[in-house]
Symmetry: C2
Subunit: 115 residues, 2 copies
DNA sequence: TCAATATAATACTTTTTAATATATTATCTT
DNA sequence: AAGATAATATATTAAAAAGTATTATATTGA
């Protein structure tokens, strides 16, 4: 009987590596705030800077990481560059994070209802 | 008119920090595999070691991190220590990760259906 | 004393973060 | 067209902090 355990495990490891790559990209407060803001509608760097009060080089650096990891798209309009969400997977995770961390009251209610 | 922007932003930063702490804990392939396994039912260290082929001190170290961060519970039974999931938030995130990374076919179908 | 698990100690590499400076691209003014 | 300004990106670097893997040892219970 062939040992299929190792094969499955290799596939799982690969998936785990991909998954943890996304999580790692998300695991930074600035980037979470940026994605949160961008997810509510396309915005340019200046708007992000003002809304989140992160100073420009840091902002650009973090946006660069989000770009490299394929989480956001960009579009130039004159001097400005507009960012929007590019990754469904990232959005799916952000949605859950929002439910778990930003809407605790509502969550508790529906959890209670479920009992 | 008081500037309420800063107050909201502080709250958001706090939430973002909490959120990224969880993400950081999850952002490691070994820990993802461990949680995945444990989420399918309580298991002891030996079972995890065999199922995932991670060697003992590393395993114990990663389990230690999951414990410290409150993601898992432990229960001793004789020589063995059984691990189970302790965090609803972590499970909610794991569930989405599973849907996004481990069930791509099913996901694509339902996405297509939605059009 | 053995089995199961945890902790400690260490050495190493890799990341992260933050700050400052500079470059690029586009628009505006004269 | 020249130069000034605005918006954004890139480069550089320094310092701190984390992550990883390994080997050895300790704890707890049977």
């Amino acid at each position: 009987m062939p040992d299929t355990t190792g094969i499955d495990l290799d596939a799982m490891r690969k998936t785990a590596a991909d998954t943890s790559a996304l999580l790692k990209t998300l695991a930074n407060p600035d980037r979470l705030l940026l994605l949160c803001q961008i997810s509510q509608g396309e915005c340019c760097v200046g708007e992000l800077e003002e809304a989140l009060d992160i100073h420009q080089p840091t902002l650009s650096q973090q946006l660069g990481i989000l770009r490299e990891e394929g989480l956001v798209n960009t579009r130039r309009e004159g001097k400005r560059i507009y960012y929007s969400i590019a990754s469904e997977k990232a959005m799916a995770v952000m949605q859950v994070l929002y439910e778990q961390f930003c809407k605790p009251a509502a969550r508790r209610k529906s959890a209670a209802r479920a009992h």
